[in-house]
């Protein structure tokens, strides 16, 4: 290990990177684009759902209910329907995602809700939803909780809830608050693994390696020198996401900033290890790209970034425990949203460390300073 040599490899990588305009643009472009896409597009808080009204009661109360529901902004009543058949057609054609149905006996059902005469009162309103979209279902479920009586008559007391949900850390239920920290993980996984794997394989594919292995340079120096610039690039990307996340989406950073970078650094090293490992398997840059994407998708799906970890079947959970991103998502959400200290989350750090050691050991064992 020779520091001058190591430094010259880093310098060479940076010089090459500076001339590779596309990659250079991707370093800042990918985080910015993803942040805006995910920040604005992934919003489970539904507004203006295309909807229709089938008002079979045609009473003053019914019209009031429709107006009140329209007021909530959840549904946008674009169609007034006459028959249930029309409703079927519109939903099937995908023109609406939900429909409010007011039955002909609306007034009677409404009255029945308050009386004790009927032990099992039938609900006065029906919302038909397009079940092919899970998120729409959830939105409709929320509408079902709407206090209808209070809607019609503000004087009525709000019915007491049996269970009250206290929302720690994200009381306004803002989606970006949940997605942006995890997004750091997504972006780092995408760029770090891919860039390293490709950078190392490129040397082999272009024939540079044949020259290099005939010189005193060691594979360790070469790999480390190629990977080091990406640590800096990774931290730069973290900074871009944090700045935009705070400025545009007002994502809180409740823990210490140092802990955030500490967790990011651990995850960057783990991702780079994975990239180095992939580079020992792939013969061409194209292969390394495919392999990188092969590891990318399960990480995104199983890490808890998109779907809750608790809801996954056991084997999927075991698999998720292997992925560095699962641990990083827990770390970063813990630090940024819950204000946790890095030290409290040591099991996740330990998992990342084990991942690095295992992948790098395999990679080193597979590397020979020879052509065969």
């Amino acid at each position: 290990m020779n520091l001058r040599r190591l430094f010259s490899i880093v310098l060479k990588e940076l010089r090459q990177l500076r001339r590779d305009r596309l990659t250079f643009a991707m370093i800042v472009g990918i985080p910015t684009m993803q942040l805006l896409l995910f920040g604005y597009a992934i919003n489970l808080d539904i507004r203006q759902l295309p909807a229709a009204v089938l008002d079979q009661a045609q009473t003053a109360h019914a019209r009031e209910v429709v107006a009140a529901l329209a007021q909530t902004g959840v549904m946008d009543f674009r169609y007034r329907l006459k028959t249930p058949q029309e409703l079927d057609d519109l939903i099937r054609a995908g023109k609406i995602s939900a429909a409010l149905v007011i039955p002909p006996d609306f007034e009677r059902r409404l009255a029945g809700q308050n009386s004790d005469t009927q032990p099992w009162p039938r609900p006065p309103l029906q919302i038909v939803v397009d079940g092919s979209d899970q998120v729409v279902q959830q939105a409709a479920a929320q509408l079902a909780l709407l206090p209808l009586q209070k809607l019609l008559d503000p004087a009525v007391a709000t019915p007491t809830k049996n269970v009250e949900i206290v929302n720690f850390y994200n009381p306004a239920r803002l989606a970006p608050v949940n997605t942006v920290p995890g997004l750091i993980g997504v972006i780092l996984t995408m760029t770090m693994v891919l860039f390293t794997a490709m950078a190392i394989v490129r040397e082999r594919e272009r024939g540079n390696l044949e020259f290099l292995i005939a010189t005193p340079v060691s594979p360790f120096e070469l790999t480390l020198g190629k990977v080091l610039p990406f640590v800096g690039i990774g931290l730069l990307q973290v900074t871009v996401v944090l700045l935009l996340g705070v400025a545009i989406f007002h994502v809180p950073i409740r823990g210490s900033l140092l802990d955030v970078y500490g967790a990011a650094l651990a995850f960057i090293v783990a991702s780079l290890s994975l990239g180095v490992f992939i580079s020992t398997l792939a013969k061409t840059q194209f292969q390394s790209m495919q392999l990188a994407f092969f590891t990318f998708l399960p990480q995104i799906l199983l890490s808890g970034f998109m779907f809750p970890y608790a809801g996954m079947p056991r084997p999927a959970q075991w698999l998720a425990e292997i992925f560095p991103m699962t641990h990083f998502i827990r770390l970063i959400r813990g630090i940024m949203l819950r204000g946790a200290h890095l030290a409290e989350l040591w099991p996740e750090l330990a998992a990342l460390a084990i991942f690095c050691v295992v992948t790098l050991t395999i990679a080193v064992l597979r590397t020979r300073k020879r052509l065969d």
Binding site: N2, K12, T215
Partner: protein, 319 residues
């Protein structure tokens, strides 16, 4: 191994029984080599004859399947890492960085060889001068011509003043003028004491080497100085002059005494085996076809040696 050590005798390269198999394919088959110091030693052979594989084994880039190698008194592959500081290797394909400038490439190579900053700068200026690259100093290597790339690759290979330079078909993508200049550079290096092992498939280049090995199908089929090889050629080269060399060639096709024929301009060059008066039989054969030809014996050249050597892969080395 003791055999190789005994034969070192100040030779730069000694290899005995060098063999490399890739699965079923025998790429190099029991090759014995001895290369004296400060020589330009040529490897001549058709594509796929095992030239590159042999060179790679000599630098320690490939493990031999069997055989003993001693390079600059290092036992290979055991001492390969030590050897790497003392040899320069120029690959067949340009293997420096296309997206770095000439200076940046050399700067990187200098750092790899642990040159201090000051030493690196001095040495690079020297090399830019020697290899006419001063003008291209800040040009990206990828945008240079084949000849310029070749000079850059040579500059990089000799940057650390290696005792032994191994060149794998260095001139395959270069125009004749650049080839000549390149070889002048090689002789300058050899005069300064560098041993050079260079593979080629150009006859004119092979002719310029101090010594030459001809490889065919992984076997060493001839070994000696170009002059020795020509002198030892069993057979006779004839020059057939006539008005219709193509027809003459067709007429002589299939004659058992003829090793090879090649039309050179208006002449037909015929290589015949020893024994019998080939001149008379060929003249008679041509007359039968109504071709009037003048036949002159000429001195054998390296191409004749190459043709004979590679036609009979099982034959023993010429010298």
């Amino acid at each position: 191994m003791s055999a190789v050590i005994a034969e070192r005798n100040g030779n730069a390269i000694v290899a005995r029984g060098l063999t490399k198999k890739f699965g079923e394919l025998v790429a190099v088959d029991h090759v014995d080599l001895t290369v004296a110091r400060a020589q330009v030693y040529g490897f001549l052979g058709p594509n796929g004859s095992g030239k590159s594989t042999t060179i790679r084994m000599l630098c320690g880039l490939l493990l031999p399947t069997s055989g003993d190698i001693s390079v600059l008194d290092c036992t290979i592959p055991r001492d390969a890492e030590v050897l790497k500081r003392r040899i320069g290797y120029m690959t067949q394909k340009f293997s420096l960085y296309d997206d770095l400038t000439v200076y940046e490439n050399l700067d990187f190579v200098a750092a790899v060889h642990e040159f201090s900053r000051g030493d690196a700068r001095k040495r690079i200026e020297e090399l830019l001068e020697t290899y006419w690259l001063t003008q291209q100093r800040d040009q990206l290597a990828g945008t240079m011509s084949g000849g310029q790339k070749q000079r850059l690759a040579l500059a990089a290979a000799v940057l650390h003043k290696p005792e032994l330079l191994l060149l794998d078909e260095p001139t395959s993508a270069v125009d004749p003028q650049s080839r000549r200049e390149f070889w002048d550079s090689l002789f300058a290096l050899a005069d300064a004491g560098t041993t050079i092992l260079v593979s080629t498939h150009y006859m004119d280049e092979a002719e310029r080497c101090h010594r030459l090995a001809i490889l065919d199908h992984g076997r060493l089929v001839a070994d000696g100085s170009p002059r020795e090889l020509c002198a030892a050629l069993p057979g006779q080269a004839l020059l057939v002059e006539c008005d219709v060399p193509r027809r003459a060639q067709q007429a002589l096709e299939g004659d058992a005494t003829i090793v090879s024929m090649a039309q050179i301009g208006a002449h037909l060059r015929v290589l015949v085996r020893d024994g019998g008066d080939a001149r008379v039989t060929i003249a008679a054969k041509l007359r039968q076809q109504g071709i009037d030809a003048r036949i002159e014996p000429v001195e054998a050249n390296l191409e004749d040696v190459f043709v004979v050597a590679t036609q009979k892969p099982k034959r023993e080395a010429v010298t």
